[in-house]
Amino acid sequence: MSKTTLTRRGVLRSGAVAGAGVALPTIFTASSAAAYTNEPTGSTVTLGFNVPQTGPYADEGADELRAYQLAVEHLNGEGDGGMMNTFSSKELQGNGILGKKVEFVTGDTQTKSDAARASAKSMIEKDGAVMITGGSSSGVAIAVQGLCQEAGVIFMAGLTHSNDTTGKDKKANGFRHFFNAYMSGAALAPVLAARYGADRKAYHLTADYTWGWTQEESIASATEALGWETVEKVRTPLAATDFSSYIAPVLNSGADVLILNHYGGNMVNSLTNAVQFGLREKEVNGKNFEIVVPLYSRLMAKGAGANVKGILGSTNWHWSLQDDASKAFVKSFGTKYGFPPSQAAHTVYCQTLLYADACQRAGTFNPCGVGQALEGFEFDGLGNGPTLYRADDHQCFKDVLVVQGKENPTSEFDLLEVVEVTPAAQVTYDPDHPMFAGGQLGTCNPGA
């Protein structure tokens, strides 16, 4: 004879557990039908382009979106093929990815981590995106990378320069083609020494968030290794618009170089303010006062106008490069849109092609298979010379450009000139370098 043990409390407890299970977001639960999250079953595959369409980086996001659309056209066999013709891997045939026509959905990151995660989540859950890519900020990239890891899709980062993206916050499902702050320092330092000498005193103004901190650390470390002295490191609020009160004391500090670890609107305003204060016309310690902007973007340089003239910095890629791949991309993009692409456009175009190629080589869209195909992948023909997607941290290692604001621009796009192509070997570091310590890749997550 059996005894029923149903109690009111037991029923409530069981109900609560069952309810919680039902309420759990579907992207975090297993589906017995699919082998991985959003496995494409029809004749198309959907990619999610998550870029800032509103907010301060909207122009950069618009350029990224143009490049994504171009990449999709090329993958589907439309247009002139762009860098697919110069890419060293010949797996892509212009018939989509693995025979499936490429479609895309877009999200607006607003350059806010929470908004970026929400739009990425929506593209994964509602639109069935099998890969998420994009972003114009390290904070956003790190946030979305974490979400993609949990959701079981690949994240191909856009414009993110913080060491943390492939350092302490690296994830098995995340991959970065763009260079990082350490590489900027390693590329810039020898050029700075050659131009300005080894006996210099540097004053840092740094945007007070993850990217600014890693940039400051990287540049200070690289310049101190040359013999430069760091006089002061001053953190400035990200929301600051007028930097005069931070710049005014620089001349009195004994420093003869000002390093602006700023990006976007911060860079435009701090550089404009520094030039207004006449820093570049001054002589300190018997030397000309110099300004350095370690991370340049042509779109941002445009905002600073003539103030960028003669100022050194670094960039991931520039449209004036004369290799076949860069020329093919500039021709393809320029013919379609009427102006040359930015470095943000270049990196996201590369990321889309690299993802598609990895799927082809792996023979699957499964994030673990795609990740494996990208890890340790060596390629060429995408505008940066021979490149390695390092398995240890999912960071691309390639040449870095040192650029300078052009003295006599011939057009509105002709703002920067390449003064040095720093070889990849010079910017390569060990996977366990202290600036990148503290995180683990973990294991890939296929989701379902």
Partner: protein, 343 residues
């Protein structure tokens, strides 16, 4: 000593912008009783008046130069501004160079018209509504205006430099016997400070020494009584709204060489300017000006390394700390009048 002088000077130009925006805000609040959160957008539109005039003056025709190529390798198109073609390269170049000061003339009628349209078209319908409604509608209007500007001008900052003669800086320290490079100050910031002083003086003189100003002041003190005397105070207040919009717009025009304008710059100033109005005393014009300069200077001091070493992050919160202290000790603000926003 030099650091104190340096930050005082820095605070003056920052305070000038706060004071000009807060002056307009106070004029609108004092006359119409409206809390106008779209006032920062008027500052931003003023700066884009300078951008627009600069673009109008550089409108160009294209000629093909077969000796040069563009980024695609095609024969390059060379742009020549019509102004340079009409007046010669030198005179035309000078006109383009002076686009920002010339934009003052352009901005005054534009801003008055925008202010008038804003007041008649939207804000007058909210006079008798609670302040919360006014804040919501004007804040919404500010967002609409900035999105319109972004649609036409993009999200990136647009460089709009000062005339060549005002570029660079001068050694203020050496003028008063200090060491070289001790106190450097940009020419244009000095221009901005004197311009702000002129506008502020002009507004006060207008209110103090004209019949129109006297009626407006009377209306600010007791609207009902002025109305009973047969004066159409609403019409005068509408004109004041236009004047307040022009003041904010002119502050924006002259600010463009200091920081390249972008669609969001109004919001950057708006919150701080409201703090300035509250600290100065709601409805008090002298209070708004005094608080604008005071908070500008304090903000500059707070960003000194020596101060930040003692209280990290003080540069981000100083204005709000001062606001709390002043409102605790003087609840009506520095020069606030009894009865304003107390019912």
């Amino acid at each position: 000593m030099d650091a104190i002088l340096l930050q005082t000077l820095n605070g003056l130009d920052k305070g000038s912008a706060y004071a000009l925006i807060a002056l307009g805000l106070t004029l609108i609040f004092g006359t119409l009783g409206v809390v106008n959160f779209a006032h920062g957008a008027l500052f931003m539109i003023g700066s884009f008046c300078a951008v627009t005039l600069s673009r109008l003056l550089t409108l160009s025709f294209e000629t093909v130069d077969p000796t040069k190529t563009d980024f695609l390798g095609n024969p390059a198109k060379v742009k020549t501004p019509y102004v340079e073609a009409w007046f010669g390269p030198e005179a035309g170049g000078t006109i383009i160079d002076w686009a920002v000061p010339l934009a003052i003339i352009f901005a005054i009628p534009v801003m008055i018209a925008i202010g008038y349209a804003m007041e008649r078209g939207l804000i007058k319908h909210f006079y008798k509504r609670p302040h919360a409604d006014q804040i919501l509608v004007t804040f919404g209007l500010a967002i609409v205006l900035q999105e319109v500007i972004k649609y036409f001008f993009g999200a990136n900052p647009i460089p709009t430099p000062a005339p060549e003669v005002f570029k660079g800086s001068f050694d203020f320290g050496m003028l008063i016997g200090m060491d070289a490079n001790a106190v450097i100050y940009p020419y244009w910031r000095m221009v901005y400070f004197f311009f702000a002083a002129l506008i502020i003086g002009g507004v006060f003189a207008f209110l103090q020494f004209t019949t129109f100003g006297m009626v407006v002041r009377a209306g600010m003190a007791d609207r009902e009584t002025v109305g009973l005397l047969g004066i159409n105070i609403d019409r005068k207040f509408t004109i004041m709204f236009g004047i307040a919009a022009a003041v904010a717009g002119l502050a924006g025009v002259m600010y463009t060489p200091i920081n390249s304008p972008n669609y969001h710059m109004g919001m950057d100033f708006l919150v701080l300017s409201f703090v300035v109005v509250v600290v100065g005393g709601m409805g008090s014009l002298p209070g708004a000006v005094l608080a604008g300069f005071m908070l500008g200077i304090l903000e500059s001091f707070a960003s000194m390394n020596a101060i930040k070493a003692i209280i990290p992050g003080i540069d981000q919160i100083i204005i709000y700390v001062v606001a709390i202290v002043i409102l605790l000790t003087r609840p009506r603000g520095l020069m606030g009048r009894k009865g304003v926003m107390e019912d």
